[in-house]
C-alpha cells in the first residue's frame, strides 16, 4: 500500500502534469498533499499565518522548480515534504534553538491523541527533535551522549513505530 492508493490521482499522472506545466496539476497536487504538508509545517513553526506562507511558497517552488525532480527516480511526497521542512526550519532558524527533551507541545495538542499515545516517549521526542526542530541525528547523539549508531537505530525504530500506528 502507498499514498497513491489513498489519492484520486496517481503520482505518475501528477508528475507528468507538473513536468508539462499543466495548471490542472495544481488543484490535484493540493488535494493530494496540502493537508499533510501544512500539518508538517505547522508542527515546526506553530503559527497559522506563517504556515500558510510557507505552504504557499513550497507549492510555488515545486511548480517553478519541478524540472529538478527526477521523474524516474524521485518520490513526490518525499521531495515536497523535504522542501517544505527545509523552508520551515530556515524560517525558524533565527529563533532560539533549544536542544532538550522538552514536552512535545505541538504533538500533545494534536487532535489525534489516541493514535499518538501509541508512540513511546523516546520515539516521540526523537521525531520531534529531528523532524520538527531541525537537529541532525549527530547533534541529538552528542546532546544525549549516545553513540550515533544508537540514535540512528532508535530513529528507524521511531519511524517504524509510526508506520504501525493505526
Amino acid at each position: 500500500m502507498n499514498i497513491q492508493t489513498q489519492q484520486a490521482v496517481s503520482d505518475t499522472e501528477l508528475i507528468y502534469l507538473l513536468k508539462i506545466k499543466d495548471v490542472t496539476a495544481l488543484p490535484l497536487l493540493y488535494d493530494a498533499y496540502a493537508k499533510s504538508i501544512y500539518n508538517l509545517i505547522y508542527q515546526i513553526v506553530s503559527d497559522e499565518n506563517e504556515t500558510e506562507k510557507i505552504l504557499e511558497f513550497t507549492f510555488f517552488h515545486c511548480w517553478n522548480s519541478f524540472y529538478l525532480f527526477d521523474a524516474n527516480k524521485g518520490f513526490l511526497f518525499t521531495w515536497l515534504s523535504l522542501n517544505a521542512r527545509n523552508t520551515a526550519l530556515q524560517h525558524k532558524k533565527g529563533k532560539t534553538k533549544e536542544l532538550s527533551l522538552r514536552p512535545i507541545v505541538t504533538l500533545a495538542n494534536a487532535s489525534n491523541k489516541t493514535v499518538l499515545a501509541q508512540l513511546n516517549t523516546n520515539h516521540r521526542q526523537l521525531l520531534e527533535l529531528f523532524y520538527y526542530s531541525g537537529f541532525s541525528l549527530m547533534e541529538i547523539a552528542e546532546q544525549q551522549q549516545l553513540a550515533y549508531a544508537t540514535i540512528k537505530t532508535d530513529f528507524r525504530a521511531a519511524l517504524l513505530a509510526l508506520r504501525n500506528l493505526k
Binding site: N2, N39, N86, H91
Partner: protein, 300 residues
C-alpha cells in the same frame, strides 16, 4: 545484492526523513529505480509519514486552496537566462554630467569720470563762472561719480561671489564625473570577465514592468545586481534577493531601489542556484520570501 539487508539497514527511513547527504540520497534513488522491493519500501515509509502528518491536525482552511493556486498562476515565470555577457556592455553605467558650462562674463570697467578741460580766460566773469563751477557743480559731479562707482563695486562683488560658487559646483561635478568614470571602468572590467553569466530577471504580476540583471561569476561565486528598472519602495519596505536551489532558499541580501547612480550592487556570493527571485519585504528583510509580493524572477 541482498535487498533485505539494504532495507533493514534503516537508510530508507533516513532518506524519507531527509537525514542523508545529497550523494547518499542519489544512491538510494538509484537503488530504488533498480530494485522494486526498495521502491515499495520507500513508498510504505512515505505513506507512514504522510498519514501521520495528514491526521495530526485539521489542516489549512478551505479558502487557502483557491488563494494559493491563484497566486501561483499569477506568478508563473516568463523570463529568460542569457549565458552571454556581451549584451551587458550595453548596460554600462553612463556617467552623469550634471553641469552645463556657463561662460562667466565679467563686466568691463566703465569709464566714470570724463576728462575735464579747464580753459583759462582773461575775463573776471569767466573766473567767477569757473569758480562757481568748481565750488558748486564739480562736487555734484564728483558725488554722482562716486555713487556710480560704489554701485558698480557692489555688483562686481556679487558677481565675484557667483563666479566662485559656479567654480565650486564645477569642481564638485568634475569629482562626481571622475567617480562615475571609475565605477564605470570597474563595471566594464567586471563585465569583460568571460566567467560571467548574465541572468535576466523579469517582472511578475506584482510589478510587471520591473527589470533587473544578475551578473554571476561562476569562478568566485560573486553576484552583482543591476537594478535596471525597479519601482521605488516605501520607507517601511526593502527589496530582497533570493537564490533558490533544490528546496533551499538563500537570502542574498536586501537593497533599496533608490539607487540614484544606477550602480551595480554587490550581493552575497552563492555557489549554486537554479532560480533567482526578488521580493518586496518588510524593512530589514525576511527569513523566507513572501510570494504575494514577488516582484522579479529568473527563468529556471
Amino acid at each position: 545484492m541482498d535487498t533485505e539487508i539494504y532495507i533493514s539497514s534503516g537508510i530508507l527511513e533516513l532518506y524519507c526523513a531527509g537525514a542523508l547527504s545529497e550523494a547518499e540520497m542519489r544512491e538510494v534513488e538509484r537503488m530504488a529505480s533498480q530494485f522494486a522491493a526498495v521502491k515499495k519500501e520507500i513508498q510504505a515509509i512515505e505513506l507512514a509519514l504522510w498519514s501521520f502528518n495528514e491526521h495530526i491536525f485539521a489542516g489549512p482552511h478551505d479558502q487557502l486552496k483557491t488563494e494559493l493556486i491563484a497566486g501561483i498562476k499569477l506568478n508563473s515565470s516568463n523570463t529568460i537566462i542569457e549565458k552571454t555577457h556581451e549584451a551587458a556592455l550595453n548596460n554600462a553605467v553612463e556617467p552623469e554630467v550634471n553641469t552645463v558650462e556657463t561662460p562667466i562674463v565679467l563686466p568691463a570697467a566703465k569709464e566714470i569720470i570724463p576728462e575735464q578741460t579747464i580753459q583759462s580766460t582773461g575775463s573776471k566773469k569767466k573766473k567767477i563762472s569757473i569758480g562757481i563751477f568748481l565750488v558748486i557743480i564739480l562736487p555734484i559731479i564728483l558725488a554722482f561719480g562716486a555713487f556710480g562707482l560704489w554701485n558698480n563695486w557692489d555688483a562686481l562683488l556679487q558677481e565675484l561671489t557667483a563666479a566662485k560658487k559656479l567654480a565650486a559646483n564645477a569642481e564638485k561635478s568634475r569629482a562626481q564625473i571622475d567617480s562615475n568614470l571609475k565605477a564605470t571602468s570597474q563595471t566594464l572590467d567586471t563585465l569583460r570577465n568571460p566567467d560571467l553569466i548574465k541572468i535576466t530577471l523579469s517582472g511578475m504580476k506584482f510589478s510587471p514592468a520591473a527589470k533587473a540583471v544578475i551578473y554571476w561569476n561562476k569562478n568566485t561565486n560573486q553576484i552583482l545586481l543591476d537594478p535596471v528598472l525597479i519601482p521605488l519602495e516605501d520607507k517601511d519596505h526593502c527589496y530582497q534577493l533570493w537564490a533558490m536551489n533544490k528546496g533551499e532558499t538563500l537570502s542574498l541580501g536586501t537593497f533599496s531601489a533608490t539607487n540614484k547612480n544606477k550602480q551595480m550592487l554587490p550581493m552575497k556570493a552563492v555557489d549554486k542556484a537554479s532560480v533567482f527571485i526578488i521580493s518586496l519585504e518588510p524593512k530589514n528583510g525576511s527569513a523566507i520570501p513572501n510570494i504575494a509580493q514577488l516582484c522579479l524572477m529568473s527563468k529556471e
